[in-house]
């Protein structure tokens, strides 16, 4: 499984959206109807899944604001050293 597929699965589950809707550029709030609580939950699940790849167990607050789409999360994780193929 690729990193993108894994993240996409988590997003689909958390936001209750179909795979076809969760494109790399789809904005969680504007395109996928998420609210602040959904985003908090989504970040928590990403942290859970990839905690071994991150220094601490959590994504710093200042980074969270930029995680607005599937593409943004994938790029962020890659920048933290998560391989594109899992």
């Amino acid at each position: 499984m690729t990193l993108e597929e894994k993240v996409k699965t988590i997003i689909c589950e958390t936001l209750s959206r179909g795979a076809e809707e969760v494109t790399p550029a789809a904005d969680f709030i504007n395109d996928l109807g998420a609210d602040s609580l959904d985003l908090a939950e989504l970040v928590m699940k990403i942290e859970d899944e990839f905690k071994d790849n991150m220094a601490g167990e959590s994504i710093p607050e200042e980074d969270v604001a930029s995680l607005k789409s599937l593409g943004a999360i994938v790029e962020y994780l890659k920048s933290k050293g998560v391989p594109a193929e899992l």
């Binding site: 936001l15 209750s16 609580l37 939950e41 942290e47 859970d48």
Partner: protein, 411 residues
């Protein structure tokens, strides 16, 4: 002051999740109690409860929203929607500021609390769900119901343990009586068949431990009664100002004629001997409705099946109505079939009162076999009876010494 009538009702109960089904099963004397299936209760001193069995949350709430809410709120939303449909009211044609909601809960999202505390202890504070707090607060059901129906009038939750559902109806009635609202959704919801709740109530020795015979475990007013059985579900009533209801041609089940609320100010959980607090609530509800004790045809008792409640409630009924009237009134405990739905109980039993008035039928107290000299009134044992009644009372009593009594009137 305005008159207040009931124009719609919805139930989610151990006897069914549709109003007519619920009523028919209640009149037939159907037992709703069985072995706990919601969690493994093998190691628990109490292994029985009255669970809601045929509820499909998907029929009411999409999966994403379901995950954001505790089951108690699922029940509240479902019962509210069924009540609104039953009433035929179209809220988009109403002034939203004059439509409100008090759908409360005794213990709220207790199973969510349990789950999130486990997460906190096992995985740390950063893993607690952002939906933890909105799921557990007892007022969130009222908030979510308001969102669905666009109700912008009075909205909050009343909490008085096992009297919650009835206090909610009392407050909603007053909002209409005093002209603050035209329509109020009122009721209670509970989903407390979970380990911490069963363990906690069991530790108080409040629950029946007749684990090997759940069908006969709940026996209100019977000499062999030995505790209440946890129930769950929700009941919501559409309360409406009388002229408003008439104007839109609504069907009317009954009038909410009076309400009384008192406190024993005596003990944390035990009712005061002699039942003066409960009696005084009944007296106030009759006085506020201008109804005499000899006019009361039916009392839906709190009737929990604990040794103390049923004895003291019997004394309270005698004190409030007088011995002679108390011997003539029909009494029954719906909890003999539904278990004790805590904060939803008073609301569900108000539904029972409204249907008893409308249909001229008193539902039974089932499992009544052994007379108790301390409980010597007519509890409508084991079989429903036809009786045309004009006025009835509904009692609810809660830990903390809270007593509530509503008077319902045939219209």
């Amino acid at each position: 002051m305005k008159r207040v009538v009931i124009t719609g009702m919805g139930v989610v109960s151990p006897l069914g999740c549709e109003l007519n089904t619920f009523w028919n099963r209640l009149v037939e004397g159907t037992n709703g109690i069985g072995t706990i299936t919601k969690f493994d209760a093998t190691e628990f001193p109490v292994k029985i409860a009255a669970e809601v069995k045929d509820f499909d949350a998907n029929a009411f709430i999409d999966p994403k929203q379901q995950r954001r809410m505790d089951p108690y709120t699922h029940y509240a939303i479902a019962a509210s929607r069924m009540a609104v449909q039953d009433s035929g009211i179209n809220f988009s044609e109403e002034n939203p500021w004059r439509c409100g909601c008090i759908v409360s809960s005794g213990v709220g999202g207790i199973s969510t609390t349990e789950k999130e505390v486990r997460t906190l202890l096992e995985r740390g504070p950063r893993r607690v769900s952002p939906f933890c707090i909105p799921q557990i607060i007892v007022n969130i059901a009222s908030g979510m119901v308001a969102i669905e129906h666009g109700l912008k009038g009075p909205n909050y939750a009343v909490v008085s343990a096992c009297a919650t559902g009835l206090h909610s109806i009392g407050d909603a009635m007053k909002a209409i009586k005093y002209g603050e609202a035209d329509v109020m959704l009122a009721g209670g919801a509970e989903a407390a068949v979970c380990p911490i709740s069963i363990a906690g109530f069991a530790a108080m020795h409040a629950l029946s431990t007749t684990n090997d015979d759940p069908t006969h475990a709940c026996r209100p007013f019977d000499k062999e009664r030995n505790g209440f059985i946890m129930g769950e579900g929700a009941a919501v009533l559409v309360l409406e100002e009388y002229e408003h209801a008439v104007k839109r041609g609504a069907k009317i089940y009954a009038e909410v004629g009076g309400f009384g609320a008192t406190c024993d100010a005596y003990h944390m959980t035990a009712p005061a001997e002699g039942g003066e607090g409960g009696a005084q609530a009944m007296i106030i509800s009759m006085e506020s409705a201008g109804v005499n004790p000899d006019q009361i045809g039916y009392i839906n008792a709190h009737g929990t099946s604990t040794p103390m409640n049923d004895r003291i409630e019997t004394a309270a009924i005698k004190k409030a109505l007088g011995e002679d009237n108390a011997r003539k009134v029909s009494i029954s405990s719906s909890k003999s079939m539904t278990g004790h739905m805590l904060g939803a109980a008073g609301a569900l039993e108000s539904v029972v009162c409204a249907l008893a008035l409308k249909n001229g039928v008193i539902p039974p107290t089932i499992n009544y076999q052994n007379p108790d000299p301390d409980c010597d009134l007519d509890y409508t044992p084991n079989a429903a009876r036809e009786r045309k009644i004009d006025f009835c009372l509904n009692n609810s009593l809660g830990f903390g010494g809270h007593n509530a009594c509503a008077l319902f009137k045939r219209v």
